[in-house]
Symmetry: C2
Subunit: 161 residues, 2 copies
Amino acid sequence: MEAATATPTPPDGAAAPSGDLADTAVRLRLSATRLARILRQQADIGLTPTQIAALATLHRCGPIPVGTLADEEQVSAPTATKTVERLHAAGLVSRVGDPTDRRVTLVSITAEGDALLADIRARKTAWLSTRLGELPAEELARLTDALDVLEHLTTPQKDPS
Amino acid sequence: MEAATATPTPPDGAAAPSGDLADTAVRLRLSATRLARILRQQADIGLTPTQIAALATLHRCGPIPVGTLADEEQVSAPTATKTVERLHAAGLVSRVGDPTDRRVTLVSITAEGDALLADIRARKTAWLSTRLGELPAEELARLTDALDVLEHLTTPQKDPS
DNA sequence: TATTGTTATACTCTATAACTATA
DNA sequence: TATAGTTATAGAGTATAACAATA
């Protein structure tokens, strides 16, 4: 049902009327920022956003060195060290030395960490699911249709490092 | 109910079961959080996100008491006081006593604050506009089609005040 | 007495610089 | 010498509790 009725902008050379793009950008920026803020407020379980994010990365990436965690989270090494300390004190992660390189400390999520993370995610998702369920079916369909674009937008196509 | 993950998504957009809702919620949550984080990193002008947010509220709401700013930003009164102090030290806001109630300090944005805020917004929008311009026209159209739904989602339908 | 704002105190988040241990 | 991680130091963000001034 979706149609390419909007401005047929060739992605290569021809410039689109930047007014449209800018307008879309403003609206999307506002919505995304607002939604993220609302979602953030939805998850007060005693963990800070920093700790939740680190936990999620450890869940996703398995046992990784502290430095890799820092890279993933885009924070400094000392910040990663401190975050790991706190998560460790809470029993949510464990730290094991790497046998092949004894400078490295491998960090991994514990069963407790996994459980807590699942709980946090469930709360956030539950709230959002409720909101989505309140939408008219037609609006929900349009939102679903655009999800892959949003994901495309937030996935690093090329990492300039 | 652990293993309800691999949901075969129905091809048409008709009457989605709640498993789909949860799936949509997860994807939307991730995208929104990521996009907000990227956008946040895009605006390093020496001001912190807290300060930018306060500045934006002062721009929007005009001269308001410190307590009102705290309410708007959903922070404590001492936090609002400190933020105003820093913005004031930077020349971005001004503080004037309310003649009708001398307990009240009215805070307002200065011309410098307005200019800086506009600059910050322009940068964020510019970055996102570029990204949007890189999208295939068809994807951009679908995203545009879903914008009003996103806005609908992040606008308080019923304000419990 | 109730309200507005500030100060006092304490903790987390964050970065840079300096240091230790290992490679 | 280079790298992984930690410790040292410093400043912002945050909250609760205690206080001052005003209503």
